[in-house]
Symmetry: C2
Subunit: 335 residues, 2 copies
Amino acid sequence: MKKIINKPENYVKEMLEGLYIAHPDLITYTADDLHCLVTANKREGKVGLATGGGSGHLPLFLGYVGKGMLDGCSVGDVFQSPSAEQMLAVTKAIDSGAGVLYIYGNYNGDIFNFDMAAEMADFEENIQVLSVVAGDDVASAGPSAPGEKSTRRGVAGIFFVFKCAGAAADKMLPLEEVKRIAEKAAANVRTMGVALTPCTVPRVGKPGFSIGEDEMEIGMGIHGEAGIRHGKIEPADQITDEMLDKIITDLPYTAGNEVDVLVNGLGATPLDEQYIVTRRISMYLAEKNIKVHRFYVGEYATAIEMAGISISVLKLDAELKALMEAPACTPFFRQ
Amino acid sequence: MKKIINKPENYVKEMLEGLYIAHPDLITYTADDLHCLVTANKREGKVGLATGGGSGHLPLFLGYVGKGMLDGCSVGDVFQSPSAEQMLAVTKAIDSGAGVLYIYGNYNGDIFNFDMAAEMADFEENIQVLSVVAGDDVASAGPSAPGEKSTRRGVAGIFFVFKCAGAAADKMLPLEEVKRIAEKAAANVRTMGVALTPCTVPRVGKPGFSIGEDEMEIGMGIHGEAGIRHGKIEPADQITDEMLDKIITDLPYTAGNEVDVLVNGLGATPLDEQYIVTRRISMYLAEKNIKVHRFYVGEYATAIEMAGISISVLKLDAELKALMEAPACTPFFRQ
């Protein structure tokens, strides 16, 4: 895919410079490092929420820093984890005495670096850090046994975890409570995606894999991780049904449940197609007697310029529903 | 480009069904016709604002119907004008006695149908309709002589016209005043785009034109209309400068001016690249001593899945600035 960029090695730096220029009312950076993004509206006494991860997924991760959601984000190079030092700098900047909760996707590099950052924050800075690792992608691994660590990747569904935890922190709840809520949201969200085209990391300059001219890959990850089925492109309704079958039976979501649904474009797929999928999801869930509280449609977590869509479903209870409805104002999400 | 769709002939119908499902609090339709989209929150006594145009440009046009912006939109098939009857149905539904203002892009099919709708509204329904036709694309034709009709196409800059006129109507200003403001915004906005890839109309099933593997087309229209220069892809900064040179000298925008800037993705181009362009625009305008009041970055007006970007600049005065800052809540734009 052709790109409007300067030198590939400056891709993330220049993207970040543009972001700070465009959103000075919402975000800034700390430690003289563009990769250490923090809110411009720190609230004293509030639990700090931090995330982090590789670039190439805008608006994920950094785009959800703002009022009612996250307080900081360490930003890595494309598809690469930021360093422990960068996460520590973010942690120090956003802590205001109430502790910090990390919420991030289940990737080894991130876990390694952010665990180290949490330890440094504790030992060197006396900041209490707790962590919630989100793994919502049902295509990436089977469900984990009770008490076992999930091996599922974190994908677009983390938006729901950010939103619920962000609203909880905004209510000035204590760290343990915010963590409980983040874990509850993470435990109740499932995601699955389909990719039609690969994506190109700017420094690499060519796609890391290929998908045939008339083919799709169901369950592909947001870095191009292999999916669960490769085949001819099918009609949107059929693709949607296949993804929902996997999602719905996994938690499971059952008749009488109420859910929020995120229909997420992976990059190059137009909104029109996302709404065509929305229509089918609505029909599918109605048939299962699962009630949709609200649809979120648009690009919430991308894979650079990959064509494709993911569907995330969050099972609601009264607590999560109220948190999802709370106001938020970030560069990429407002309600 | 591969698509997640069902039958191509149902593309717009199913997209619209998905939209109404996702945004029941903001939009609905009239005349039993999905193509006649109107606000779900009609305000009595307010001037009604209607737009219309072909599909394939989401969030343009219909995505800006909501509080503080537009009241209705007639929706055509992909890249095709809606009918006069559809625009008339929208007009009837949104009029509440204060008259209706049409704001739409400068395309012959739309002008023909919407002029007819305006006449029918006047003669048959006794609704006063005025029209503002936006033509902001500096690449599409030279500037028009005073008093002469512009032959420039309307593109992403119409967002600014919607926003200013919408805020004016929201202040309960009378029809003539809302029209004056829409005309003022339209007169002070200029846009230029660059395309890297073509787009595919679903019914046609293949791209309507091609752009070479390492080439771009500067000035291409949002339906693939020929641009002003075809050439090898250049670095983002150079492309940005070339587009800004044309935009800035056209109005012209001069030292001391204050502007709002829209950096618009045409479909397949990631936000990262839009921010890289934002960065350069900021540097370019600072050098010219033109002050940016606010950047808007994202997909505001697309050409299905075209890769590319457009830049729109709105020259502000105190009146337009206040209107741009007013709140709005639509499916695709909130502030």
